[in-house]
């Protein structure tokens, strides 16, 4: 098995035992990027010299006998929505084509503090708005399992680069499923942490009450390791919660006894691809074989209305957050000479892509005088009902299981002209963000056409440690996480 197919945990062991250096690892991944990027197009930026320099610094630190960080010499790819000091950060938007942040996001600081090697910035749907990475202003990332298909989104680049073995782990962000859905469609692990578990400082905001940063990895162990590094309190994000971060990797291999898995009947209704349904059913049987008990549950309001609530709440928050892009302090400014207001309007008309404009329009309308009660306030009330429904469900079960995505990866271009159809592809993932709980997707099989399928686990807030143990139970009994595509 070549270096690029290894997990981060294996790469750490190889360095500790002297079988590989950080520089050799960096070179192996840079070579993979060179060979595979023409097909995968996951990265917007890879600075080879900077990557080698970071790796050599880790090797020098090891030689000096200094204590090394938890991710020493592990290449990590970072979604281009996270600020990296001195390194261009575009959000895949023309609006930020030349933007160079003067500071690092909290999670990027954490990666650096643990001696990770930042290997590059990854492609995404513009401002994280989308489910296929087709809304990038720059390039089309493909699915490494079938390059005629989408990788999922919005963190499509961060998912595809791990699936394609161009990086062992990466960071994405999840506002309505943007980590879990691409993880599922690319056959890897993706985690959406509890709201408040990870600081959003330096994450360019889309919808502030929903956004969270989380990891992509080949397996649960690596995902848990990444969470140990990025989770924790940060005074610069007042919604980051001051609660100790468990050592997720220590408890990981202890199975949960008398596990009760909640199965929402609505997750298996029409709309679910029958082949995906069969694969999910097989994984539930696997859990039963491991001693888990099924608990039939029902989430009628969330299943029926979450997408509608989301497309009001998320667009309302985005219309407010994206007001900052006015061409005055940073980012694109129109070249057309005009007065102040017209300069704003021209700048934003030129700088934002179609989907971003659509969402700003929808959110502005939902918040506008005369319509806010009908749309925004109504959506917030239904959001409360969805939270109540999840609270009640977790009284009966330890984890909620179901499909991550209703279908496997669809073809490039299939849904670009129908925004509503695209929105409905997030139907199983969206409630998790609205109610602020933790969720993850783990690989659980392949369709006959060799496309990966993901199993979604939803867990109560701040229950990531148990969620990882439950995920690891399934993983240790199966080998889906060891599969790699031929790119």
């Amino acid at each position: 098995m070549s270096l690029i197919e290894k997990t981060a945990t294996e790469l750490l062991a190889l360095q500790a035992s002297g079988q590989a250096t950080a520089a050799q690892i960096a070179d192996a991944f840079l070579a993979a990027i060179k060979a595979r990027e023409p097909k995968v197009k996951a990265f917007l930026l890879v600075d080879e010299a900077a990557v080698r320099q970071q790796a050599e610094a880790v090797d020098a630190k090891r030689k000096s006998g200094a204590k090394l960080g938890k991710l020493a010499g592990v290449p990590v790819a970072v979604k281009d929505v996270l600020c990296t000091k001195g390194v261009r950060t575009t959000c895949s938007s023309k609006m930020l084509e030349h933007f160079v942040p003067p500071y690092d996001a909290h999670v990027v600081e954490r990666l650096k503090a643990e001696d990770a090697v930042l290997i590059g910035k990854t492609n995404m749907d513009e401002f994280a708005m989308g489910s296929s990475t087709e809304n990038s202003a720059y390039q089309q990332t493909t699915n490494p399992w079938d390059t005629t298909r989408i990788p999922g989104g919005s963190s499509g680049g961060s998912a595809a680069c791990v699936a394609a073995c161009e990086a062992p782990v990466s960071l994405g962000t999840d506002t309505g499923g943007s980590i879990r859905q691409p993880a599922a469609l690319c056959g890897i692990v993706g985690v959406k942490p509890t709201y408040g578990r990870v600081s959003r400082y330096g994450l360019i905001a889309f919808a502030s009450s929903l956004d969270q940063v989380g990891p992509f990895a080949h397996d649960v162990t690596d995902a848990a390791l990444m969470m140990e590094v990025i989770a924790g309190h940060d005074r610069r994000d007042s919604t980051s919660v001051d609660q100790p971060v468990p050592e997720y990797t220590k408890s990981l291999n202890t199975p949960v006894k008398d596990l009760r898995i909640g199965i929402p009947k609505e997750f298996f209704d029409e709309g679910l691809d029958p082949e995906v349904g069969k694969i999910i059913e097989a994984s539930l049987k696997q859990y039963e074989a491991l001693g888990a008990k099924r608990v039939p549950i029902s989430l009628p309001i969330g299943s029926k209305f979450a997408v509608a609530v989301y497309y009001i709440v998320a667009t309302a928050e985005c219309s407010s957050n994206l007001a900052r892009f006015d061409g005055m302090h940073y980012g694109h400014r129109t070249k057309t000479k005009a007065d102040l207001i017209a300069t704003y309007s021209k700048t934003r008309g030129e700088g934002f892509g179609k989907e971003v404009q659509r969402r700003i329009m929808l959110g502005t309308y939902a918040l506008s005088s005369g319509y806010a009660d009908q749309y925004y306030h109504k959506a917030l009330k239904v959001r409360r009902l969805i939270k109540n429904e999840f609270d009640a469900a977790f009284g009966q079960c330890d984890v909620i299981l179901g499909p991550t995505s209703p279908t496997p990866a669809f073809k490039l271009g299939e849904k670009t002209d129908n925004p509503l159809a695209m929105y409905l592809s997030d139907i199983y993932t969206i409630s998790c963000n609205l109610v602020g709980i933790a969720g993850m997707s783990i690989p659980c099989g392949f369709t006959a056409g060799r496309l990966p399928v993901g199993l979604q686990l939803l867990s109560p807030a701040f229950d990531e440690d148990r969620m990882f143990r439950i995920a690891r139970m399934y993983e240790s009994a199966t080998d889906w996480h060891t599969k790699r595509p031929v790119v």
């Binding site: 030349h98 933007f99 160079v100 003067p102 500071y103 408040g196 009450s209 919604t239 919660v241 309001i301 029926k304 209305f305 509608a308 609530v309 009001i312 219309s319 007001a323 006015d326 005055m328 302090h329 940073y330 980012g331 400014r333 129109t334 070249k335 000479k337 005009a338 007065d339 102040l340 207001i341 300069t343 309007s345 021209k346 934003r348 008309g349 934002f352 404009q357 659509r358 700003i360 329009m361 929808l362 502005t364 309308y365 506008s368 009908q374 749309y375 109504k378 917030l380 009330k381 239904v382 959001r383 409360r384 009902l385 939270k387 925004p419 509503l420 609205l434 109610v435 602020g436 807030a461």
Partner: protein
Amino acid sequence: MSLTLDQVKKVAALARLELPDADLAKMADQLNAILGYVDQLASVNTDGVEPLAHPLPVQNVFREDVPVPSLPVDAALQNAPVRLADFFGVPAVFDTDEPVSH
């Protein structure tokens, strides 16, 4: 209820978005399709339900008011579309004979 072209124009003005006239009809159709779907929220009984704006049970978060270093001026201005001395250069807000900076 569906949005008319005039309403779409009004929302675009509120959002400070200049949209080409040729795009307005398509934008209206797409917004109407989404709003048509969203309108099903009206069927949910939410009498007496408290709105949930935020998933965490936190209200205000306080910390000691201790000064910490801010971004240096040059770093703060490094992405400015137009820099004038230590300021962001912007088009004139009031009528003036001064040239508008771009």
